[in-house]
């Protein structure tokens, strides 16, 4: 359909995100803001989280109950019960956090069209925090594309 003949180049960026306990934290506006600053019109934007006890997901950003219910499902699915795990030294929520991360995403790549993330109408990009205590999380953004 579309075709890119502009020379390709790449850009990279790092987001720091503060989380305050288990749940989903939307980062779509911060990604979109950086994308605009690059001047890239068509390309592929990769989001990568540098952690194994927090992850990424794309979910509905219209009704906040959706991300609440999603987090509650993972609480039921992955029990905080030290008898189930060998890895318990970092607290009862740590091994469940690794499992929840393995069930979701560490990386997402999103096409870029006309300078914007080509997300569906209701799609938002979220950090899914799986630890109970506040954390500072690092997300890498990498963009391949053309002007």
């Amino acid at each position: 359909m579309s075709s890119g003949t502009a020379p390709l180049f790449q850009r990279a960026h790092r987001l720091r995100v503060s989380t305050k306990g288990k749940g989903l934290y939307e980062i779509t506006p911060r990604i979109a803001e950086w994308l605009r600053s690059t001047g890239v019109s068509q390309g592929l934007l990769t989001v990568f989280i540098q952690h194994t006890s927090a992850s990424l997901t794309i979910q509905e950003n219209a009704d906040p109950d959706v991300v609440h219910d999603l987090n509650a499902f993972f609480n039921r699915l992955v029990a905080e019960d030290n008898r189930l795990y060998r890895h318990t030294v970092e607290g009862p929520d740590d091994m469940p956090a690794h499992i929840r991360a393995a069930l979701t995403l560490t990386q997402l790549s999103i096409p870029v069209e006309s300078g914007c993330l080509a997300l569906g109408t209701w799609q938002g990009v979220y950090i899914f925090e799986h630890r109970a205590a506040p954390h500072q999380r690092t997300v890498l953004l990498h963009l391949l594309g053309g002007a």
Copy 2:
């Protein structure tokens, strides 16, 4: 092993797919057909679905019982029970659909070799529909590569 010295360019395309209830719908032939039309020999093809109640997966396409059993597993894992969820206004299958999507994939990137998707012998690319009613789904294809 292999090395691409041809100039890189990008192409994008949009697939519309009709689904008829929960289950897996193979889209490998449609992706392969578009890939051939681009003339790209080596590259990276990204598949992105613009929805949060349908998702993507790569599964075995030899025995149709595999995708049947996969859908049945998700029906057992994610209960349709409104008492479990706050987000119930779109029907008993909607919040389970969001959860099933979060447990699978919104995006897949597949290497291209000699003009073909570098899939394993039994691998097929599927839309995983999580809603009960028929839907029209949009899948973006993005290709970075060289001739």
Copy 3:
């Protein structure tokens, strides 16, 4: 933040990995070794596994109990019980293997910075083997980037 003005090119490679039953097998050093051989300084490295009964995950590589507990969780979550499945001809562990693969990843893309995989401090890339018997697995590596 960083910006790549060097001409872009692509490289591809194939890893063969022997597995000996269910569990996680780290492949980070083999990916890093190939990356060094390409001379790419900044880019995007994609890992793709050509199977539907083994998958990929990024997990903590500091405490080996983490990957043990992760495998044990999947053993509990996806029962080996032929009464639950139609697809039983390849053994009681085969359909559970397909489900476990669908719950994890077939593909991962990792940014490259200063010639290295931009992984977090404790992140390792693993093949997640879901079959009981020894297998030979094929993993494709694809790299887009510049010197």
